[in-house]
């Protein structure tokens, strides 16, 4: 039985010290330098504050030491055992052959102290929000543990005959994909265009709304129409420029630092994805443990023909309850047309098939939304007009409020219409032999590819009118993370229900 590395205590003591220091400075600035503060009283209170913070620091250090002293892990012939926690003790036992994903995380401070965090996940749906095992060890020890665990996992699988494939898919250790600087720059460029476009649209909307209010309420403080438009335009251009620069900096940091040295490697039946400069991640999982592959496109990516490919492997990048990394990214950024080629190299069983069905009608995409949204808006607006008239509000102000509200309703309806057109063109399914490919989404498009053995349940949703027209929508529930286990495909022919239900493993 081994304990976690001592580096954890030193690192925690240092971070806690800085935390306490910041807390002390924050309280001191509030007590001594705040406008409404009494400095004399502050000086009297400060020693007690310092004593309290020192006490807090001592408690934190004691907590860390107890955590270290009570933590342990042990590897037997068949399983790995791990125990951690002070107030809430957690003991976990995991059979090697049940291991779903092995993740290593090492941020800048971890590197200084030479430690790394190893998380091991069994893929249980009940604990999918957090890793089942967590080991804090020296980086070199973590690397050797990963190698050892991979070997033990594979031998365990071979013994139990759980491995679906009789032969190894990949024979040599090989690099399958690299996230190049060119692609990172393209990613930043698309983000810049997206930010500029959204800011410009919001700016135009605000200018229009204030313009309507200016004409209705005769707001003289806004100057003449010429002055108003010049100032509004300048503010909008400035906002576009500032936000674009911020977006560029954010994107560069995100793609160059977050995905520094992004490499996908294969070794026997395992796939290893590693990335990150300040915080280095190394995630390993078996090919057979993949539940689904998702090719995701947001609006800008759709316009320019790019995509992100994500993986559904329970446990992949799940951390210590602090998910600050995009869940399960396989390819951060690529051309949409390249997705199939990349997948044929990396995951040959998950190449998307062409749509076999498509949405059969456009009207159902908007009918219920429009009906509910317009009737609720109508009731609220009528009620508002009646209440405002009872309160003797001037008719000009009521008209201004009505126009502004109507403007919002029209904009929301227009957005919904565009989203519905995109959804009508996107939604569809392709089902063949043991693989299902679904096309879903509106502004954002998602192509989900999964094996039929990972289809858990099929839900079909219809309304009385749609039932008469032979239309239904599907919700397919997959064996994946609880946050992303549903795929919705809208407005399909209901005779497809039988075909999909037949693919369920009964």
């Amino acid at each position: 039985m081994k304990r976690f590395d001592k580096g954890y205590v030193y690192l925690s003591a240092l971070t806690d010290f800085f935390g306490c220091l910041i807390l002390t400075f924050a309280i001191a600035s509030h007590l001594l330098f705040d406008e409404n503060a009494d400095p004399q009283k502050g000086k009297l209170v400060m020693p007690y504050v310092i004593a309290a913070v020192c006490l807090l620091y001592v408690c934190l250090v004691i907590y860390r030491v107890i955590y270290y002293k009570t933590s342990y892990y042990e590897m037997t012939d068949t399983e790995i055992k791990c125990g951690r926690g002070v107030l809430f003790r957690k003991k976990s036992v995991l059979d090697y052959k049940r291991i779903h994903a092995i993740n290593k995380k090492q941020d800048l401070l971890h590197r200084i102290f030479g430690i790394a965090i190893l998380t091991i996940d069994s893929g249980s749906a009940n604990t999918s929000h957090q890793a089942e095992m967590l080991i804090i060890e020296k980086a070199a020890v973590v690397d050797s543990l990963i190698r050892e665990l991979n070997e033990l996992k594979q031998s365990g699988e071979r013994e139990s005959g759980e491995t679906a494939k009789s032969e190894e898919l990949f024979t040599d250790r090989d690099v399958l994909y690299k996230y190049t600087s060119k692609k990172k720059m393209l990613y930043a460029l698309i983000n810049i265009i997206y930010t500029a476009l959204i800011t410009a649209i919001i700016g135009i909307l605000v200018i229009t709304v204030i313009g309507v209010l200016k004409s209705e309420l005769q707001l003289k403080e806004l100057g003449t129409w010429g002055q108003y438009f010049t100032v509004a335009l300048l503010i909008t251009v400035a906002a576009v420029l500032i936000l674009t620069v911020l977006s560029f900096i954010g994107s560069i940091i995100y793609s160059f630092v977050g995905y520094h040295n992004f490499v996908i490697e294969k070794c026997k039946n395992d796939i290893q994805i590693s990335f990150g400069l300040l915080e280095r991640h190394t995630n390993t999982f078996s090919y057979d443990r993949i539940k689904a592959v998702k090719i995701h496109q947001n609006l800008m990516q759709r316009i320019f023909g790019f995509a992100t490919i994500r993986l559904e492997v329970i446990g992949y990048t799940n951390e210590t309850g602090n998910n600050n990394v995009e869940i399960g990214v396989l390819i951060p950024f690529c051309k949409y047309e390249e997705a199939g080629i990349i997948l044929s190299k990396v995951l040959p069983d998950y190449i998307p098939d062409k749509k076999q069905t498509k949405s059969v009608a456009f009207f159902p995409f908007v009918s219920w939304f429009m009906l509910i949204f317009i009737s609720v808006s109508g009731i609220i607006l009528s009620l508002t007009v009646v209440i405002l008239s009872i309160l003797n509000v001037t008719s000009i102000a009521i008209i201004a409020v009505l126009l502004a509200a109507l403007g919002v309703v029209v904009v929301v309806c227009a957005i919904k219409m565009i989203s519905a057109i995109l959804a009508y063109k996107t939604n569809g399914i392709a089902a063949c032999e043991d693989k299902i490919t679904t096309y879903s989404g509106g502004f954002t498009k998602t192509v989900t590819i999964f094996k039929s053995k990972n289809l858990v349940t099929v839900e079909s949703i219809t309304t009385p009118l749609r039932q008469k027209a032979g239309i239904t929508s599907f919700v397919l529930h997959l064996k994946t993370n609880e946050m992303s286990n549903e795929v919705k495909i809208h407005i399909q022919k209901d005779k497809n229900t039988e075909k999909i239900e037949k693919m369920l493993a009964l």
Binding site: A125, W368, I379, L383, V386, I387, I390, L391, N392, V456, T457, V458, E459, S460, I461, T462, T463, P464, Q467, H477, L478, K479, T480, E482, N485, E486, T497, E501, L504, A505, L506
Partner: protein, 164 residues
């Protein structure tokens, strides 16, 4: 597969739930109007508040009181050796097919009102999502859980033999 309807006592319980929610809504609306009246607000403000609270309250009450009967009418469920089917929904009608072999856990839940009427919810956990069969009599829920356990064991055994 023949689908079953829910027990009549379920409708009674749903109506009691609806009445309790209606009372809370009415009390909240009445409380707001009374507090405005007590604060000696001008007549037009009192009328505006009464209208603002009253109209949404009436619309909401209509929905709350109509829904149990419609929900009861549309709800149906059934199970055979291989799958469970649940049909529900008033406007949007859902039909869920859950394969028996995908069941991971079975749970029975009861709230205070359910205990009064000897009713229970059965939650079926699968590897992907959880599904509810609401609301069965407790005896029926126990019977269903026992039946599903046996079917699941038999199905797993059959699948093992198929593999061999």
């Amino acid at each position: 597969m023949e689908l079953k309807k829910l027990d009549k006592s379920v409708l009674k319980m749903w109506y009691i739930q609806a009445v309790i929610i209606s009372l809370i809504v009415i009390l909240a609306a009445a409380g707001t109007i009374v507090s405005v009246a007590i604060s000696n607000a001008p007549g037009n403000i009192l009328t505006a508040v009464s209208l603002g609270c009253g109209v949404p309250c009436i619309i909401l009450l209509c929905f709350i009181l109509i829904m149990p009967a419609l929900r009861y009418k549309m709800y149906a469920w059934g199970c055979d050796d291989t799958r469970i089917i649940v049909k529900q929904g008033v406007i949007f009608r859902e039909r869920v097919v859950i394969p028996v072999c995908q069941i991971q856990d079975l749970h029975r839940k009861q709230g205070p009102l359910m205990m009064m009427f000897k009713l229970s919810d059965v939650t079926i956990s699968t590897a992907g999502s959880n599904f509810d069969i609401s609301t069965l009599t407790t005896a029926e829920a126990d019977r269903l859980i026992e039946e599903l356990e046996q079917k699941l064991e038999a199905r797993i055994e059959a699948q093992k033999n198929e593999k061999i």
